[in-house]
Amino acid sequence: MTTVSLNNLVKSYGDTQVLHGINLDIQSGEFVVLVGPSGCGKSTTLRMIAGLEEISAGDIRIGGDVVNDMEPKERNIAMVFQNYAIYPHMTVRKNIGFGLRTSKLSKDEKDARINEVSGILELTDLLDRKPNQLSGGQRQRVAIGRAMVRDPAAFLFDEPLSNLDAQLRTQMRLEIKKLHQRVGNTIIFVTHDQVEAMTMADRIVIMKDGHIQQVGTPFEVFYEPANIFVAQFIGAPSMNMLNGIVKGETIALDNGTSVQVPTTKLSENQQVAVGLRPDALLVQEGEGLFSGEVSVIEPLGTDTLAYVKVGEKEVIAKASGRTPPAVGDTVNLHAAPEAIHLFDAHTGEAIR
């Protein structure tokens, strides 16, 4: 177990800067997920930690030591790749044991380590098979086994679940989480899937265009998003966002309605964005925040998502799964005052 620190980490390709001074401290044994859309720099950051990309400026410290000039093998980290990178010409046993090739352990010790890891990952019966005889999930476990066998200071995962189908992805998500609870190593996990990030991470690092947008626990990034990007990136469906302008005690929204909010931190005529998560905007009887006509419904079982036209804007709200509204119905939408998020319309930053 070890700490990983990134200090003003910069990456440039020629004149193009793709990482603009990343600062991040990862505690020993922490499960940190880097998440963001394609091109946000999350994989580049991970590859720099691994030593596969050169550092243009800044420091990376692993276990307190600056590792900028160290080769990947000297950093005592292990990495699991998106396409598994398990060698097709080797058996599962050889693949798992590959990480021990350069180790000074005796053959018996190496075998014992391979057997232990394959036992943990339930690969014992598959040790003599070649990768083409394995399912996607089994291949992924072999890749994890190869990483585990060296007992590295930290694990790096680069979108390891992207190639799996939805069911297997859910299963592997759980397995990786259990594995972390069991071995307790520091894990840095890259994904573009916010559900993976929310379900697995101790802390989530949300990135965009080479900048960190917010670092926080899943609870924090969901309930206290730092800006509009985080608010809309985390959570599915995305947070409803309505532009408005502060008028006295209320915010006049550009869909022609208005909401009453505590405006102590707002100034008159300030332009703001009002955010409401679909699951906090409920279709209920009685006068609510807004009312509008249902244009589309998406039944999800327990709940139904209703797309409601409020003025010129469409918002997504949650309705009962048993008694959903029909398309064309006029419905009232309710939200608790604490569920309303406010953002500065110009900077996008949260107003708290």
């Binding site: 030593g51 990947p72 990178a85 060698y87 090739r101 350069t102 190869r146």
Partner: protein, 292 residues
């Protein structure tokens, strides 16, 4: 009315289908005919070679495929002639060493050109490729001058050195290494292997079909090489098999039956190599996007 219309349409469709089928089978017949003719054209020299090798000298110029008086005397003569084994061994040694060197060097250069980024990489690659456009006949003189200057004339090294690495092999291997995902190499790098170990342990096994195809191409090329070994060798002991076989033709007469016997025997190693590796060569050629 409607029914007869339907019937007409159905008849027309059926006629169209039959006509299309006829055209298809005609096209297929022509294709088969061309293939058959091509096959015959290719196999006839081999059949004549085998046929001649079982003939007496008086019958050589008869174009009958089956000898009137078949004999194995030619084989006995060639195999008992001590020189033949010497040439055979020379050819085998030269073709084997050249093949091993090509497999190693071409793949090493191809790997570096494919997987490493360094200034001048593209220029080096183009320079290597451009040598493919120079015919062997033009290179023979500089090779000879070089061999002469270094004292390599009439030596194994002299015969082998021009072919120890080839531009074609480098190009072929570079293209194949493109198919090896970088993740494999990076995973090995993280696991602590040095660059040479990564090439040997991870990359090379993944391009095995290409290596087999390259090995066959190089082996066959060197086994049948004639011009350069003829020029660079002086003594009969250093001759390769194709050069040695020419000694059966002397000024007064050409002993075709002996030449054909030697040629027939010399095809055996190439046949073995081909039969053993044919599945690789086919896969390799398909993967390289080349026509066989």
């Amino acid at each position: 009315m409607a029914f007869s219309d339907t019937l007409d349409t159905s008849k027309k469709a059926s006629a169209l289908r039959n006509s299309a089928r006829r055209k298809r089978s005609q096209a297929q017949f022509i294709r088969w005919l061309l293939l058959f003719a091509g096959g015959i054209a290719m196999i006839m020299p081999i059949v004549f070679m085998l046929s001649t090798s079982f003939k007496y000298p008086f019958e050589v110029y008869n174009l009958n495929l089956i000898p009137e008086e078949p004999t194995i005397e030619n084989y006995t003569y060639v195999l008992e002639d001590g020189r033949f084994f010497g040439w055979f061994t020379n050819s085998l040694l030269i073709a084997t060493i050249t093949t091993i060197c090509n497999v190693l060097f071409d793949s090493l250069v191809g790997y570096v050109l494919c997987k490493y980024t360094f200034p001048g990489r593209y220029i080096i690659f183009i320079a290597i490729l451009s040598t493919l456009m120079i015919p062997t006949e033009m290179l023979v003189i500089p090779w000879y001058l070089m061999s002469s200057a270094f004292g390599w004339l009439d030596t194994y090294w002299g015969i082998m050195f021009p072919g120890l690495m080839t531009a074609f092999g480098t190009f072929l291997m570079k293209q194949f290494f493109e198919t090896v995902p970088d993740d494999f190499l990076e995973a090995a790098r993280i696991d602590g292997l040095n660059e040479l170990q990564i090439w040997w342990t991870v990359a090379m096994p993944l391009v095995r079909p290409a290596l087999a195809a390259l090995a066959i191409f190089v082996f066959l090329g060197n086994w049948t090489a004639f011009i350069w070994p003829l020029i660079v060798t002086n003594s009969q002991e250093m001759y390769t098999l194709p050069v040695g076989l020419t000694t059966f033709s002397v000024e007064a007469q050409v002993e075709w039956e002996l030449i054909m016997t030697g040629a027939a025997i010399s095809t055996i190693p190439t046949l073995i190599v081909f039969l053993v590796f044919q599945r690789y060569i086919i896969r390799g050629v398909v993967m390289a996007g080349l026509k066989g």
